[in-house]
């Protein structure tokens, strides 16, 4: 009889603990109107946005009219340079780096122009401004929203690789494309434009 009572108390304790833990977790809320004019204040939605994405599959930037752009997964070439998307209208996620949604700088790169001279996916990236939104969707259809917080053009020869690709206390998504003037000798643009964005919380 004693054992039964003790077991009952144990289960009662576990149940109470689970209920307490559920309500003790911090409930983060957002209540803002995004660039599409929709309002979001759902705790559940924020938790989904906080969660780590599986590998990113598509990207959308309403400001630039980019919708469901395919995200390729790339690494580094033999010289340690970040590889680029195979298709000029796709973007590429730097897979050896940070996963979107984790604390750190995750990076997407896109072409500025095409071999034909036509504009590529990030031709108009310089139009991005602070507050603009970027949506990233993973293979399961889970979407995260990022907000642009800064835009900087760095010289290619003095590019702050660790700052753009490395550690951060924030959950960053950085977009990179070519900028500046074309160096005919080195066959390279003089600058790289970086748009810094942070996960909306």
């Amino acid at each position: 009889m004693k054992k039964i009572i003790l077991v009952l108390f144990l289960f009662f304790g576990i149940g109470s603990g689970l209920v307490l833990a559920r309500y003790a977790l911090p409930e983060k809320k957002i209540n803002e109107v995004d660039s599409e004019g929709t309002t979001s204040n759902s705790v559940e939605e924020v938790r989904v946005k906080d969660a780590l994405l599986k590998k990113p599959a598509h990207m959308s930037i309403p400001k630039l009219g980019l919708s469901n752009i395919v995200v390729e997964h790339v690494g580094m070439d033999g010289n340690g340079q970040m590889e680029v998307p195979v298709v000029d209208d796709n973007v590429a996620w730097f897979q050896p780096g940070y996963m979107p949604g984790s604390r750190g700088n995750s990076v997407l790169a896109g072409h500025f122009d095409k071999p034909t001279g036509d504009p590529a996916v990030f031709y108009r990236l310089e139009l991005m401004e602070v507050g603009d939104k970027i949506h990233l969707t993973d293979v399961d259809g889970v979407t995260q929203t990022y907000r642009v917080i800064d835009k900087v053009a760095y010289p290619y020869d003095n590019f702050p690789t660790s700052f753009v690709f490395g550690k951060s206390d924030r959950k960053m998504l950085n977009l990179i494309t070519c900028d500046g003037t074309w160096d005919t000798v080195n066959q390279n643009y003089s600058n790289r434009l970086v748009v810094f964005s942070e996960l909306v919380e």
Binding site: G13, L18, L20, F94, M99, S102, D113, T161, W182
Partner: protein, 49 residues
Amino acid sequence: MIRLSIITYIMGLVLSFVMLTGVMAQTITPEPTMVEEPTSPPATGYGVK
């Protein structure tokens, strides 16, 4: 008996609370394991600006 019941109850409460908050915290803010950085940025243009 009453004291033992209370102790058992508190043990269950504390254990489940710690376990659930730990699991949930890891789910909400997962930490990356190991990352690499390139030595230079990508070549994202063909020179036809």
